[in-house]
């Protein structure tokens, strides 16, 4: 049977995706799923508060399993409703390379870090500095801004790196590009070999950390940090309230179980984007000797992340504080109110 040209098969796949996405949207499945996720999340939140109080009354295997299960489920759906973290991570993985193991490790780290940051925030601000929980929740805004700025930095760095690769390719076209993707990608463990360590790649021999590798891990760490530094204000509320109920330990366990749930969703998505990238790379492998496609794709991915980071930063800047409960003013902002004192020195 005649083989399709690489370009044609990629284009066909793309058409397939758009057609499938269009159909799913047109049938309304997509919208239904989105609303269902919101409803499940709401129910799980109710169950979560009930579970923490239930343990207090009847501590035991049953109540603990309920708490763990509900928290885990909450994490899964919390991540299924989106957030920039997933977009950044999947764009990063799809455009910059990295094997499936890296995808899973990065997703898990980012999710876990989010939980740990929430725990640290409450431990330091509330226990250490004596802030009110509501003030700690409001500080999530600042963490969010920091996260957005870091996303923009990651994007900028990725663009710069790809530009340098392009520059090198133009300086010495044949030598550099011919080597990078020279191996045959037909065997089964191709995923082991598809990271983009350019010239000088010794596949399978990653005992020593080459400068390129260190750089790649540095970027990866920055990506993880940019996502993980922003805790969910819901997690902060949960921790603060459970501390007030003398149940801080249970709150911590719940938040960690949530992080695991989030990691499951995020790593599935990351895995999907790695698989998609590998498939495309294999299709286009015959062409890769002629042009530095990898660098162009890397540049495009970096540009997307940069644009996302900038637009989020800007929006956050203009919009100001995130919404809170509509019947309560922002904490500390109720200047002149006899009840809620004005901004504390700390905040």
């Amino acid at each position: 049977m005649p083989r399709l040209s690489p370009w044609r098969s990629v284009a066909l796949a793309l058409c397939g995706v758009l057609l499938a996405a269009g159909t799913i949207y047109w049938l309304g499945w997509w919208q239904q799923a989105a609303v269902q996720v919101v409803l499940w999340q709401r129910d799980l939140y109710h169950a979560l508060t009930a579970a923490i109080t239930a343990i207090d009354r009847a501590p035991g295997l049953a109540t603990w399993s309920v708490l763990l299960g509900v928290s885990f489920g909450y994490g899964v759906f919390h991540a299924a409703g989106p957030g920039h973290g997933k977009v950044v991570l999947s764009t990063y993985l799809a455009s910059q390379g990295g094997a499936w193991r890296r995808a899973i490790v990065l997703s898990a780290l980012a999710s876990l870090l989010q939980g740990l940051v929430a725990i640290a925030l409450v431990a330091v601000l509330v226990f250490g500095l004596g802030w009110l929980t509501r003030e700690a929740m409001a500080s999530v805004d600042q963490a969010e801004l920091a996260s957005f700025v870091m996303v923009a930095l990651v994007g900028l760095w990725l663009c710069w790196r790809s530009l340098r690769r392009l520059w090198r390719w133009h300086a010495a076209p044949r030598a550099a590009a011919g080597h990078a993707h020279g191996h045959d990608h037909a065997d089964d463990h191709t995923h082991e070999h598809t990271h983009d360590h350019g010239a000088g790649c010794g596949c399978g021999h990653d005992h020593h950390v080459s400068p390129q590798r260190a750089q790649a891990w540095g970027t990866a760490a920055l990506t993880v940090l940019s996502i993980g530094i922003r805790p969910c204000s819901g997690a902060v509320l949960l921790l603060g309230a459970s501390a007030l109920l003398d149940q801080f330990g249970k709150g911590v366990v719940a938040v960690l179980a949530m992080s695991l749930g989030t990691a499951l969703t995020v790593s599935s998505l990351a895995l999907a984007s790695v698989l998609a990238r590998e498939w495309t790379q294999r299709r286009l492998a015959p062409l890769s000797g002629r042009r530095p496609w990898g660098a162009w794709v890397g540049f495009a991915g970096g540009a997307v992340i940069l644009a996302l980071g900038l637009s989020l930063t800007l929006a956050q800047w203009q919009q100001g504080p995130a919404p809170g409960a509509p019947f309560l003013g922002s904490p500390g902002a109720a200047a002149g109110s006899p009840l809620l004192p004005g901004a504390r020195d700390a905040s």
């Binding site: 049977m1 399709l4 098969s9 066909l12 796949a13 793309l14 397939g16 995706v17 499938a20 996405a21 997509w30 919208q31 239904q32 989105a34 609303v35 919101v38 409803l39 999340q41 709401r42 939140y45 109710h46 508060t49 109080t53 409703g81 989106p82 977009v87 999947s90 764009t91 799809a94 009110l132 929980t133 509501r134 204000s233 509320l237 949960l238 603060g240 309230a241 459970s242 007030l244 109920l245 998505l269 999907a272 790695v274 698989l275 998609a276 498939w279 495309t280 919404p323 809170g324 409960a325 509509p326 019947f327 309560l328 003013g329 904490p331 109110s337 006899p338 009840l339 809620l340 004192p341």
Partner: protein, 235 residues
Amino acid sequence: MAIQGLLSQSLQRGWRLSLGIGLGLSMLGWAPLASAHPHGWVDISVRGEFDAQGRLEALRQQWRMDPFYSQVVMEELASVDDDSSMAERLDALGGEIRNNLATQHNLTWIDLDNRELAQGEVVDTNTEIDGERLVFEFVLPLAQPVALGGHLLRYRVFDPTYYIEMVHEANADGSQPLPEALTLDRAPPGCTTRIVKAKPDPQKVMEAAMLDKTDTGEPNLGRFFAETGEIRCPG
């Protein structure tokens, strides 16, 4: 034949890519709903109050804040550094909540046969702690008392940003609102009440999410998830 074979072959190869790109796109499209899930809830109950002429004059509402949000607010009350009593602090909190609500339509929307009814100013606020819950009570008068004979009055209580979910008091598993969550006081004979659960239309929710995101920054999705209380009187 050959073309069909080619097509199915490449489609088979393409499904993984499709999956990846599809997921990526969908995450972008889904984004507006991200911030939309509630971070706390309020259990509400409502009493329709009628005047001597049998006209509806006010909706008395009781809001029970969820245990966690209650804790966080009570922490704030306890931290006030003066010699006021807890009762005074609760009163002050009630006043503040009333003022905040006044700028936001009291989070209540009332209509008579689909025509919106104007509201008066909230009176009779009372704030207290009931076990683990903070309870806020108030009377929301209608601007003009209305005779309900032969008409349908509907109200909805919700936080437009959906940061806080507002639901009528419900049974243990939260699946059905309790009849006691909507009662009538001094109503003419034959008046009936009903609480209609929200049936969010996914299409509209998604449209609103997209539109609001670009226009104002925050998707105002609360209305789609709001229950409707109905009061009907024979004509």
